[in-house]
């Protein structure tokens, strides 16, 4: 929990490398490229001591993890999380690491949580040098009810440690709902009540265990407030995931990404897509949904964003806000990257020639 989320540096994980960006004034430039030509599925930005992690998915050669002690100047391959031997006859997806999809620092120094496809949560106490599967979650019988969303296997894409309570962590799973531990991973509770799955038969729509929250973020200054971009809607919780309330956006509620203002729990941004079956910006015109009143109303922001023939999709981790709440970055599957310096009210192009972008993070 010591991430130094400076607002003048950001990291863009792409299909063909990790790009470090620096900002001067409102101008962002590529400062360095690491792992050129290799897919980087996720990163953990530099912590206060300069240590950071980058997760690669090399395809033929599998998932790899690299660590840096000098803020990305040099890298060393470290052990990637590995699943234990699969018991004969075990149901569910193969116990094989398919992707590192989320990385977050824990409270204790050196603690890192890693969310994966096919749905296992891993934990490291030595900043990624070694990992152990969180068996208390993997062993839950409900896990066999999870299924893939976007990928064939279920995956953990969101990890939200509670900033004030060590031992409390919330995770989001596509498609496996929202799970919370309050005892440092010893036990878990399913907390997706109020979410609704339009892709299920009516009798199963309210089942919390098969919800598909595409992305969940927690407000650092008001940690009881959580925002979720779900497969078929936008939800908000004001009671630390005890309950979730669906919100109506004016244009489209389909999308993947969400970001919440670090100091204002009522302010959040979304990157809407047209629909599940039409994964482009609505009417091929890119916009950002912004609310400043807890989702009571939404503003559709188009300034600086392409309004004709835009087929960009912003993935789950493709929208980020800096600690200052003013600077945002948004990047797409077609290699476009936009920045905002005024809290998302207007955007400007940083690049239109990057590789497809998987994740953007400040820090």
């Amino acid at each position: 929990m010591t991430t130094n989320t400076r607002a003048d540096r950001a990291w863009v994980a792409t299909r063909k490398g990790l790009f470090e960006l620096r900002r001067q004034g409102e101008a962002w430039d590529v400062h360095r490229v690491s792992f050129l030509a290799d897919p980087v599925s996720m990163l953990l930005p530099p912590q206060a001591d300069g240590r950071m992690l980058a997760a690669l998915n090399l395809g033929h050669f599998g998932v790899k993890l690299h660590a840096s002690d000098d803020e990305g100047a040099s890298w060393t391959e470290v052990a990637a999380p590995a699943y234990p031997p699969q018991p004969e006859g075990a149901e569910g997806p193969a116990w094989t690491l398919q992707q590192l999809w989320s990385l977050e620092a824990g409270h204790a120094p050196g603690t890192v949580w890693a969310g994966t496809l096919p749905g296992g949560l891993f934990r490291s106490a030595d900043f990624g040098r070694s990992w152990s599967l969180v068996d208390s979650l993997w062993s839950r019988p409900e896990r066999l009810g999870w299924f893939g969303g976007g990928y064939d296997a279920p995956g953990i894409h969101s990890i939200c440690p509670h900033p004030e309570r060590p031992g409390e962590v919330l995770i989001g799973i596509s498609c496996g709902g929202v799970w919370v531990t309050r005892d440092d991973g010893a036990t878990w509770s399913l907390q997706a009540d109020g979410m609704r799955a339009a892709y299920m038969p009516p009798e199963g729509a309210g089942d919390p265990n098969i919800q598909d929250p595409h992305r969940i973020v927690r407000c650092p200054s008001a940690p009881d407030v959580l925002w979720a971009q779900h497969h078929n809607g936008i939800w908000r919780s004001g009671d630390n995931a005890q309950s979730w309330q669906e919100l109506a956006a004016p244009w489209s509620t389909f999308g993947f990404a969400v970001a919440v203002h670090p100091g204002d729990p009522d302010r959040a941004w979304f990157a809407p897509g047209q629909a599940d079956q039409c994964r482009i910006p609505p009417d091929a015109a890119l916009a950002v949904h912004m609310t400043g009143d807890g989702g009571g109303s939404f503003e559709v922001v188009r300034e600086g964003l392409p309004q004709q023939h835009a087929y960009d999709l912003v993935y789950r981790h493709g929208l980020a806000v800096a600690d200052d709440g003013d600077h945002l970055l948004m990047a797409s599957t077609t290699g476009n990257l936009w920045s905002s310096g005024n809290g998302g009210r207007g955007w400007r192009e940083v690049s239109h020639t990057l590789p497809p972008v998987y994740a953007v993070r400040f820090g």
Binding site: L58, G59, H60, F61, G62, K64, E77, A80, A82, Y83, P85, Q86, A94, W95, T96, L97
Partner: protein, 89 residues
């Protein structure tokens, strides 16, 4: 003794010189290679010790079909090539 050669694509990530092994099976020969370079294991095998889906092994010109046990017998003069399937964009 059997010789094992690896795809040059691996050289981007690892040092992969040819390995000479006294092993009598493909699995044992790969284990010899992993003993010399433990990092190599994760590049060729998945968490459960199976050959990764897009890797392919040829033993004396024949494609190995056993991706789980890797039990292909090796002769003293066997040549093993560990290669990658072509894919991507």
């Amino acid at each position: 003794m059997p010789q094992i050669a690896f795809t040059p694509h691996l050289r981007r990530f690892l040092d992969v010189p040819e390995v000479t092994s006294r092993a009598g099976t493909l699995r044992a020969a790969l284990d010899d290679a992993f003993a010399r370079n433990p990092q190599l294991r994760g590049y060729l095998l998945d968490d459960q010790g199976r050959l990764r889906p897009n890797m392919v092994v040829f033993v004396d010109g024949r494609r190995s079909a056993d991706r789980v046990a890797l039990a292909d017998p090796l002769r003293p003069d066997s040549r093993v090539y560990v290669l990658q399937a072509l894919s991507g964009g």
